[in-house]
């Protein structure tokens, strides 16, 4: 392992966060706060408790998940797409590093950023509502697994994309709808029976449910199932990355 290289790329990626502090940290915080104002206060004041928790507190785990997923994808996809786009990728390709090291450093940095952001949003949320964390260990475990998985997914998108449109199309057309329909703002038993069934094919439901369980000890689906689903995702993303590695897909001609 070329640890110097991993450290160097990781540090450079983290440094980029400070240069784009507003875009990478401040704007997600603002948008999450807006969700609180709109859903938590305005609408939430009309809804009583959901699963024994005030509505404002109920949506917090979902909102954190939402930003872990979207930020993980956008951080990682952009991080690897950018050097491809401007051509500086030549340096990574000619350096004594393997694809595995490239993945570790870029995905590691993207996951760190979005996990930190998740914690910042959690901190912001405590300003608005009372929050308990019933299972802190599992809370962290869900947080880490989700950011790593979605950063890997972002990395794959960044490698696959050869223009800006492709870079944004998957997050826009697939990930955003799934996260919004994934039980962030409601509990499944608030839906009509048919929709409850259909919703179960949405993988995000399992992540949000498991993550919410780690806070309030209540869940839409069993925790084991949630963990199994995220494990499955992670395995799928690793498999795709391994396949890219074997074929040199889209990085080398």
């Amino acid at each position: 392992m070329n640890w110097h290289a991993i450290k160097t790329i990781y540090a450079a990626e983290m440094a980029r966060t400070w240069r784009t502090l507003f875009q990478s940290v401040v704007s997600p915080i603002i948008s999450t706060s807006l969700y609180f104002v709109v859903f938590g206060s305005a609408i939430g004041s009309r809804i009583n408790e959901v699963q024994g928790v005030s509505y404002g507190a109920f949506i917090v785990p979902g909102l954190i998940m939402l930003s872990l997923m979207t930020q993980g994808i956008s951080n990682a996809s952009f991080a690897i797409y950018f050097p491809k786009f401007i051509g500086t990728i030549y340096e990574l390709l000619s350096a004594p590093i393997s694809f595995v090291e490239i993945v570790i450093s870029y995905v590691g940095a993207a996951a760190t950023k979005s996990a930190a952001l998740g914690l910042i949003i959690l901190g912001t949320a405590t300003l608005f509502v009372d929050i308990q964390i019933a299972h802190p260990f599992w809370m962290i475990a869900f947080l880490v697994l989700t950011t790593v998985t979605f950063s890997l997914l972002g990395f794959i998108i960044g490698i696959w994309a050869d223009n800006f449109e492709k870079l944004t199309i998957i997050p826009l057309l697939i990930v955003t709808p799934l996260t919004f329909l994934g039980g962030t703002f409601y509990s499944l038993d608030m839906l009509p029976a048919l929709w409850q069934k259909i919703t179960l094919i949405n993988p995000v439901v399992y992540l949000v449910s498991g993550f919410r369980w780690s806070f309030y000890d209540t869940a839409d689906v069993s925790v084991g199932l949630s963990l199994g689903m995220i494990g499955l995702f992670l395995a799928a993303c690793i498999a795709v990355v391994a396949w890219i590695f074997k074929t040199g897909y889209r990085l080398k001609s």
């Binding site: 070329n2 110097h4 290289a5 450290k7 160097t8 790329i9 540090a11 450079a12 440094a15 980029r16 240069r19 050097p83 401007i86 051509g87 500086t88 030549y90 340096e91 990574l92 390709l93 000619s94 350096a95 004594p96 590093i97 393997s98 040199g248 080398k252 001609s253």
Partner: protein
């Protein structure tokens, strides 16, 4: 015999499009040599360099750098190599110093700011160390790319058209940098479209055409072949034959005897233009105009490969 730093055997590259960019390349380059790779646009120079450096996967054959196979032992091989690609590409938002430091780290070397400082000073970039790379001129960017390639103290340096779009002064200062590196035992492979550059820098010259090595020769030998000049003398009265007394010169008659052409080597200080003119006067041959021509690099390539371009 000097040990070779680069050893290429039977190298082929066929791109996914089916285009065969390199065919059966065999080349070995000894340590400390400056090797110039010449060839017309699309000949395969960049492809060859990129295959050695790991940017393009070879289709067949083997490449060794300092004895390490570039595919099987890619870490060892690439640690030896620095690459300055043809395209100008630098991370636009980083400062000059940090982008050069980054390169060193990515190549697996421990942080050494003193070395980075030395490289920047050698390339007259020290003043610009805190400037954002986006804000420096094109020629400066080229130098930053050279600095990045030198940050990890490579044994072999590839310069793919390092002086394209670079002014004369900077070009000369780059040549000095390259010579300085050679003095420290660094082997250098460069491509260029400037004959003058190859002439100034190279120990040996390789010509590549249509993906094949057309020839590899010591510079001095090649320059004699390459640097042919023609002096044309437009005569007042046509001649039927070259006069006997001028037989010592390489002369031909063109244009129904109205033009006398003297062919000589530009690198040969034995060129005898002045005596020739004196002889013409003495023979009473009057002329009305004089011109000289030098073959272009492209013409020379065609000549070298026997016109099968």
């Amino acid at each position: 015999m000097t040990e070779s730093v680069i050893d290429i055997k039977g190298l082929y590259k066929t791109y996914d499009s089916g285009f065969s960019a390199l065919q059966d390349i065999n080349l070995s380059i000894p340590k400390g040599e400056i090797f110039a790779l010449l060839g017309p646009n699309g000949a395969g120079k960049t492809t060859l360099i990129n295959t050695i450096c790991g940017i393009v996967n070879p289709t067949g054959g083997s490449i060794r750098v300092n004895g390490y196979d570039v595919v099987r032992e890619f870490r060892k091989a690439r640690e030896q190599i620095g690459l300055v690609p043809q395209e100008l590409t630098v991370e636009p938002f980083a400062k000059v110093f940090s982008t050069v430091k980054f390169s060193r780290g990515v190549f697996g070397k421990a942080r050494d700011d003193a070395h980075v400082e030395k490289v920047l000073k050698d390339l007259s970039l020290w003043d610009k160390r805190d400037t954002i790379t986006r804000e420096i001129s094109g020629g400066m960017k080229r130098r930053v790319m050279i600095a990045k390639a030198l940050a990890h103290e490579p044994q072999v340096l590839f310069l793919d058209e390092p002086t394209a779009g670079v002014d004369v002064e900077l070009r000369r200062s780059m040549w000095n940098v390259v010579r300085g590196l050679r003095e420290h035992g660094v082997t250098i492979v460069l491509t260029t479209h400037y004959l003058e550059e190859a002439e100034q820098m190279a120990d040996r010259i390789g010509v590549i055409q249509n993906g094949q090595i057309a020839l590899v020769e010591a510079k001095t030998a090649l320059m004699d072949k390459l640097g042919q000049k023609r002096l044309g003398v437009r005569l007042a009265e046509p001649l039927h034959a070259v006069p006997e007394r001028l037989a010592g010169y390489d002369l031909t008659l063109e244009d129904d005897g109205r033009r006398l052409v003297y062919t000589y080597s530009a690198h040969d200080d034995r060129a005898r233009i002045q005596p020739l003119m004196a002889e013409l006067d003495a023979a009473g041959i009057h002329y009305v105009d004089i011109d000289t021509q030098q073959s272009s690099l492209e013409e020379i390539f065609v000549d070298l490969v026997g016109g099968n371009a």
